[in-house]
């Protein structure tokens, strides 16, 4: 197991290297550049200096080598748009915010989704199943773009229970966490229900039941750990997604997370920020997938890590 983990972690390095190279090249394919704007510098010379300052006048492969050199020293370069902030500054400032928002939303999604899926599966065909399934599908069908403004309208503007947006206290997080978490709770409920149903009709459960094992014990100790497998597989990428921010929710609630940076930097062709955030996302994604695999092996004896 330990050797497996070490191998996977070592594998991260060439993958990240490849991803950084691809991202670096791909962002340059997009038309327009970081310094295109309504008010141009007073003279072309000024513009040339600007490009030279950020090494944008050199051939792409040299820019990349320069960039790589920076990364190896832990420096992701300067932002071309926020010219006093480095990519490191941006990540240091926005990542914790996204971690909090994403972590809470993830917990909420799991907290609602798992029990909802679990109980709708057990009560298959009963009223609770229909209601629960309806709710989970409703959650999936109402995107954050709709749910967010709706929650704001009801709870922030009409009832004034929570602030409209911005960060400041735990209260500020309630609506954004709900908006972000509820959608995923629906998806998780669906996955959990599917997983549970699959397990409930498998032979070993039948056998256990016919042997007279108590229903609670059967469900919780035998079925649940296997039924949660699809949710687990899904939760790796989901958590990576949530932890690196959500543009929609951050925009609606005015939250200074990573999502806004990711979208805005793409729009403004802020190359170092885009590439830096892509690397961060890829890193988190691979790490969490590894974690999921390890947990899988832990839970399910049939899974062999090799």
């Amino acid at each position: 197991m330990i050797r497996y983990i070490i191998r996977r972690v070592l594998f991260l390095v060439p993958m990240l290297f490849l991803i950084s190279m691809l991202a670096f090249a791909l962002v340059r394919v997009a038309p327009g550049g970081p310094f295109d704007k309504n008010r141009r510098p007073a003279s072309p010379e000024v513009e040339k200096r600007l490009l030279a300052k950020y090494h944008l006048d050199k051939p792409l492969w040299r820019q990349y080598l320069h960039y790589l050199g920076g990364i190896l020293q832990g420096d992701f370069g300067p932002s071309l748009k926020q010219r006093h902030h480095s990519v490191n500054d941006i990540i240091a400032e926005a990542l914790p915010v996204s971690l909090v928002l994403g972590g809470l939303s993830f917990s909420l999604a799991m907290g609602i989704g798992i029990p909802l899926g679990f109980y709708t599966a057990i009560g298959k065909g009963k009223l609770f199943d229909y209601t629960g399934t309806f709710i989970s599908i409703l959650f999936i069908c109402v995107p954050g773009l709709v749910l967010g403004p709706l929650l704001v309208m009801i709870f922030a503007i009409q009832l004034r229970w929570f602030p409209v947006g911005m960060l400041g206290s735990a209260w500020h997080l309630v609506l954004p966490v709900l908006t972000l978490g509820i959608y995923f709770s629906g998806r998780i409920a669906r996955l959990m229900r599917e997983g549970m149903l699959n397990v409930l009709y498998s032979e070993f459960i039948m056998t256990a039941r016919s042997k007279g094992l108590s229903e609670t014990r059967l469900l919780w100790k035998h079925a649940f750990p296997l039924a949660i497998a699809p949710v687990l597989s899904y939760s790796g990428p989901l958590l990576a997604d949530l932890l690196t921010g959500s543009f929609v929710v951050e925009t609606i609630f005015q939250i200074p997370g990573l999502g806004i940076h990711l979208v805005n930097s793409s729009l403004s062709r802020d190359y170092p920020v885009i590439v830096g955030l892509v690397i961060l996302y890829a890193f988190l994604l691979m790490l969490l997938n590894l974690l999921v695999d390890v947990i899988h092996a832990w839970i399910d004896p049939r899974v062999q890590l090799a």
């Binding site: 038309p31 327009g32 550049g33 970081p34 295109d36 704007k37 309504n38 008010r39 141009r40 510098p41 007073a42 003279s43 072309p44 010379e45 000024v46 513009e47 200096r49 300052k53 300067p78 748009k81 926020q82 010219r83 006093h84 902030h85 941006i90 400032e93 926005a94 914790p96 909090v100 972590g103 809470l104 917990s107 403004p149 704001v152 503007i157 004034r160 602030p163 409209v164 947006g165 911005m166 960060l167 400041g168 206290s169 735990a170 100790k221 750990p225 951050e250 925009t251 609606i252 609630f253 005015q254 200074p256 997370g257 806004i260 940076h261 403004s268 947990i295 832990w298 839970i299 004896p301």
Partner: protein, 536 residues
Amino acid sequence: MLILRNTLESLSGVFRFLLFCLALCLAGCSKMEERADLVICNGKEPESLDPAILTGMPDGRVALALFEGLTRYDPKDSSPLPGLAERWEISEDGKTYTFFIRANAVWSTGEPITAHDFVWSWLRVLHPDTAADYAGNLYYIKNAEAFNTGKLTNAAEVGVQALNERTLKVDLVNPTPFFLELCAFSPQTVVPRQVIEKHGDRWLHVRPLPSSGAYELVYWRLNDRIRVKKNMRYWDAQNTASEVVDFVPVNTATTAINLYETKQVDIIWDKDSIPSELLPVLRKRPDFHRFPVLGTYFYRYNVTRKPFDDPRVRKALSMAIDRKKIVEKITAGGELPANFLVPPNSGKYRSPEGLPYDPEAARKLLAEAGFPDGKGFRRFSYIFNTSREHQRIAVELQEMWRKELNIHVDLKSVEWNVFFRFQTELDYDLARSSWFADYSDPNTFLDLFMSNNPNNRTGWRNERYDTLLREANGLSDAVAREKVLQQAEALMVRDELPIGPLFIYQGFNIWDPERITGAYTNPRDEHPTRTIKRLK
């Protein structure tokens, strides 16, 4: 059994860890952020607060709270008032200014602000390595352009020098009637040499950051807020109205208005932060302020492409536009239809009338140019940066040109950066455009279309136009100058039309006159923070 126990243990371990994280998060977040005395919704997140580098209005608003120039804006009409200079003398030919800096002008960290600081700050803007977009605003100073473009390397030859600690002498190329106003503008403010030389690009991260304006920087959190507090050592500190001010960047207009309605923000300055769908409702409220600003909406022709190289074609297109319909039907904010470039209120200047709305004459012109009833006129494209308002205006233009001239235009919505790249590379037929004044003088609009101006972006080069502008700016008599400027503008909006002007912008602000004092509306949409206070 063992596996099960392991499973549960590991799950509960993970769960405990998650709970721990949650607790940590909540503990971290629940430390309440004290509300500032004044919270301003400040439009887009500033790209920079460095007066030499910034170009955006939101950036400038914060920078001017932190750094001051020789003059500062009057909040009522944005005219220049004495700032760090208590007085000045202007030579008879209007080309030499001598500024006398206040004895009590000090940085927020206590050191005196001297004339040498000003020389250093201005030269920094001009130094090619700074790559300041606004360096052109200092070109009115002798040898500034040569120094900025690298033709002159000796900074001592630039026409700004410190005669002593408190006296600054500035030599200009021409008598420049708007020079005092430029001195209040962010590129000409004084910045802390002591910090910038030591920390380079990261100087704004230094705390305490020496500031020369009414406020000092507390923190700048991207996409969250910029917090400033009163600079107790500011020469006019007794008149600084608010102690702590937050500048909040907002990404969407809906969020901005929600924050305002629930009193999380006190003021909205930018038009972009007001949802256009709500305008009909908001317009009737006492906290909605509407006023003409120094900004023009127009479109550019690429005159290097056929058939737009023919002025008759450009005129025809422009004369087929019913501008009144556009401002009434689409923008609907009380905008002034314009067939000229320079907005009213640019000093005492009055623009000449441009070409009228006259579809009949337009058709005739088009026929003269070889396209009777639009026959043989190639399909062309009109680009605009993605926005609903631009889109609606473009659709209207498309329809007008089709109806009146029987010509067909394809509309192309493009991303912001790509939009300007197309313009710079003259890779377009027609492009939606706008311009806002840097100072209250027609020159800020007219010099855009001089042959060598990097913001020209039409390919239009007209020697007579250049000569007229140069001549005007060499005149010290204001009336005579305006006459020549009018000739230049007439040449552009009556005879040549490298652009098609559409309307003059209206500025929108939202603030409650019963809760806010010291805020005013003015044509430059310039609102010095130092006078503004929230009552309760």
